[in-house]
């Protein structure tokens, strides 16, 4: 009887640690999935179209919200994939703690995937969306509900996943 208990608990522990080895402890899932877009305030840029929450709710098809910055290296890495996405879907950009001119220079050189851009100077919009690093990307459906969050740059694999979701 005691042997059974011993073997059973050892198996349980093994199972858990083995599973634990396969998980990435640094990925934090979003708490806003299946919830409505939060309230947020942005500052208008000098060079690009602006948007606010009401603009996001106007759509009949899914849209993408991408948190980025011109000073963020992984954002530059995902940029080509964003350009690809922007061919079929509208992408709204929120630049965190960034500079109008630097954004404009970068996008002029690499291309602009964004339908509109807003500036989050104090990080409050980022907090409202539960963003903790850059880049982070959200997919919002046609009812204003957040259905997916991508943490980190959108790589080729992630691009496939996102395209599947958007269909």
């Amino acid at each position: 009887m005691k042997y059974f208990f011993l073997i059973f608990s050892l198996l349980i522990f093994t199972f858990f640690f083995y599973k634990g080895l396969q998980k990435d402890p640094t990925i934090i899932p979003s708490n806003l999935i299946e919830k409505q877009i939060p309230n947020f305030k942005l500052r208008k840029t000098e060079f690009f179209s602006f948007f606010d929450k009401s603009n996001l709710l106007e759509h009949r098809e899914p849209i993408i919200i991408n948190f980025f910055a011109s000073w963020c290296p992984p954002c530059k890495v995902e940029h080509p994939n964003l350009m690809k996405l922007s061919e079929n879907f509208k992408i709204y950009g929120i630049a965190k703690k960034d500079n109008d001119i630097k954004i404009s220079e970068w996008l002029k050189e690499s291309g602009n995937p964004y339908t509109a851009i807003g500036l989050d100077d104090d990080g409050s919009a980022s907090i409202n969306w539960g963003v903790y690093g850059l880049p982070e990307t959200f997919i919002v459906n046609n009812q204003g509900k957040i259905i997916y969050k991508q943490i980190g740059p959108i790589t080729k694999n992630e691009l496939k996943k996102i395209n599947n979701i958007l269909k």
């Binding site: 934090i28 880049p135 980190g152 740059p153």
Partner: protein, 125 residues
């Protein structure tokens, strides 16, 4: 491997240098004390196990300022913690909320204790 590298780049590496900056500290000592209490319960999400009071990561600083701003606006400790919790989920709280799935965390130690009492002191024939 490349993805791992990018993910690591993604996280802002926190130096072990700073904590609250002088210009963040509230004038009102009582409010600042509450801010610290709240801060000790909030996790710096990109650090390796620090609270927002003891990290100089961007997100930690933003959250510190947010907490103090909300306190000045008159919000209560519970309201502020609930707000941050609603945005970032359970992970941001250093003491897990009391729920069905976290119940074990609080109950198991007691069960263990009683079990040991039984093992040590039971009547033996």
């Amino acid at each position: 491997m490349k993805f791992l590298f990018l993910t690591l780049l993604f996280f802002y590496s926190a130096e072990k240098v700073k904590s609250v900056e002088p210009n963040e500290i509230l004038e009102n000592k009582q409010l600042e004390k509450v801010a610290r209490e709240i801060g000790k319960n909030l996790r710096c999400l990109v650090c390796q196990n620090e609270d927002i009071e003891n990290s100089n990561a961007d997100i930690a600083k933003d959250l510190r300022l947010l907490v103090r701003k909300k306190l000045l606006d008159g919000e209560s400790k519970k309201e502020i913690i609930d707000f941050v919790h609603s945005r970032y989920g359970d992970f941001v709280l250093f003491s897990p909320p009391l729920r069905f799935d976290t119940l074990a965390l609080w109950i198991l130690p007691l069960v263990f204790f009683l079990f040991l009492l039984y093992l040590f002191f039971r009547r033996k024939n």
